[in-house]
């Protein structure tokens, strides 16, 4: 294992966690993913060891010859080199998917040094190019992913059909192979119970809402991931534009709800936020669900200027560092659920403690 790998797992902070992106009071990050396959090889799920290995070799060979310098320095790792903890750290940082970590054959990941670009090899498709940026920056993330796609395309023979577009393992991704998603923090819409009708409306127009860790995960801590469902029949720009428009409306709704909460029940809101800050600052045990909820309260407090001296970056980092694999790494040993609650509380306490005394 190269030294550089440890840089990716020792620090929880990724580029997308810098809370300085546009609309970062509501939008945590924007992500673009494009799915691509090589024409010649059997797709990863159906491929045997030899077939997936050939695809992996061709992709890695191409990536060595290609010029990615415009996008930063890159490192690649095969999943076989990593132990379970290391894989899960990458999952918790959103750099790889649970599927790549748990069930890929000859899987690999190519990471940019600032972690904004992550290219998964032999996940469900041969290539999954992902770009993740802080705040609402869908277009920029698409530009970046599109450019990387172009560089790969200059060297690799993609599976593409003139009529139905890029051919993917799952027919739900055929066409553009594009998944555009934004991670949003919507505490006020949850408190004011508007969230369900908003999600219902989003489903009607072909958008999907999930918990922060993607498919099948609960929406802990009022953080949701909104993405396009349909990948065929529209251009990438149109799809991104639609999502962008909807997210902008949600941002406005959330801001309005926050203002209303402040005016109509400012005292109890301040109390709620301050109590959560107190608990996070002093608790010696906390489970993941409570931590997520209290962190959401404090994040809202920072955005509303009720809590000062703690940055949004710290909140983003804690979101990742309070996940099981990061806690285990912090503790340096295997933990049971109760131990995890103890270490989780410790990590949060230390992050929130005033540094000046």
């Amino acid at each position: 294992m190269t030294m550089s790998f440890y840089r990716f797992i020792e620090q929880a902070a990724s580029g997308w966690m810098k809370g300085e992106g546009p609309d970062s009071d509501v939008v945590i990050s924007s992500r673009i993913r494009v799915a691509r396959n090589l024409h010649e090889y059997v797709f990863p799920i159906q491929a045997n060891h030899e077939q997936s290995n050939m695809a992996l070799r061709e992709i890695l060979q191409a990536s060595r010859q290609l010029d990615f310098h415009n996008f930063g320095e890159f490192e690649w790792f095969t999943l076989r080199e990593l132990n379970d903890l290391e894989k899960h750290l990458l999952v918790e940082k959103h750099l790889i998917s649970p599927q790549l970590a748990n069930s890929s054959r000859n899987g690999a990941v190519i990471l940019s040094d600032d972690e904004s670009i992550s290219i998964m090899v032999n996940e469900e498709d041969h290539l999954r190019i992902q770009c993740m940026l802080p705040g609402l920056q869908l277009q920029k993330a698409w530009d970046l992913a599109g450019q990387i796609d172009d560089v790969f395309e200059s060297q690799l023979d993609y599976a593409y059909d003139e009529k139905i577009g890029y051919l993917t393992s799952c027919s739900t991704n055929v066409g553009t192979g594009l998944r555009a998603s934004v991670m949003v923090h919507l505490p006020a819409l949850v408190i004011t119970e508007q969230i369900n009708s908003i999600f219902f409306a989003m489903n009607q127009i072909g958008l999907v809402v999930r918990g922060m860790y993607g498919e099948g995960s609960d929406a802990y801590g009022n953080i949701f991931q909104i993405s396009n469902q349909i990948t065929l029949g529209k251009s990438e720009e149109e799809m991104i534009h639609t999502l962008y428009g909807v997210v902008n409306q949600i941002i406005e709704h959330e801001r309005t709800a926050r203002r209303r909460l402040l005016t109509e029940s400012g005292r109890s809101l301040t109390n709620l936020i301050s109590r959560s800050f107190g608990i996070l600052s002093f608790a010696t045990m906390i489970d993941s669900k409570e931590a997520a909820q209290r962190l959401s309260d404090v994040r809202l407090g920072i955005d509303l200027d009720i809590i000062r001296g703690v940055s949004i970056d710290t909140m983003n980092e804690l979101m990742v560092r309070t996940q099981p694999a990061f806690i285990q790494q912090f503790a340096g040993q295997d933990l049971n659920a109760e131990d995890r609650d103890v270490y989780r509380a410790k990590i949060i306490r230390e992050s929130l403690a005033p540094r000046d005394f």
Binding site: V42, E153, A159, I164, T168, L232, G233, K234
Partner: protein
């Protein structure tokens, strides 16, 4: 919705069968789904052995297992080995060849997932070059023809060389 086969239990699975060459979807209960799955397994093996099953039955599903009476075309992708029934069940292709082998059912599947079956997005640059090269080739061939007709052989030779060059490139792509 109640199971469309037995009508006794709530439907929890969907089942696709071919009626007159068209894919039709039925909603069925878990018990009936299990029965169908067993039948499909039996029949797929039979298809592989006999290559063809000419046991056609049309019309509405009855309470007897439909697969027994029906024509099943369980083709297998020659490249990756995925069967049509696996493809129809999961909506997942195993390779590029699957998209050709199972092309008949593709519009239905894509319409269900996306509401359309035509791509309007990005085109890989190399494919763009290929399409442009092919068009250029057509133009040059026409030009060559008229140059020969006009007996301008020197110019025709230049065009001929250009055509050969372009043909090599297209073949390479």
């Amino acid at each position: 919705m109640l199971c469309q086969l037995c009508g006794n239990h709530p439907a929890s699975a969907s089942f696709i069968k071919i009626v007159n060459g068209e894919l039709k979807e039925f909603h069925i209960c878990e018990q009936c789904a299990k029965k169908q799955e067993e039948n499909i397994k039996g029949i797929s093996n039979k298809v592989l052995n006999e290559q063809l099953l000419s046991n056609v039955l049309e019309g509405e599903p009855s309470d007897s297992p439909i697969m027994e009476k029906e024509l099943v075309r369980d083709t297998r992708c020659p490249k990756c080995g995925l069967t049509y029934s696996q493809f129809a069940k999961t909506g997942r292709a195993g390779c590029v060849e699957c998209y050709i082998q199972f092309a008949d059912s593709l519009p239905t599947l894509l319409l269900r997932n996306h509401g359309t079956a035509t791509h309007h997005g990005k085109v890989p640059k190399r494919k763009k070059t290929l399409i442009r090269d092919k068009q250029q080739l057509e133009r040059l061939k026409k030009e060559l023809q008229s140059l020969i007709e006009e007996e301008k052989y020197e110019q025709a030779a230049i065009i001929r060389d250009q055509i050969q060059e372009l043909e090599k490139r297209v073949a390479g792509q």
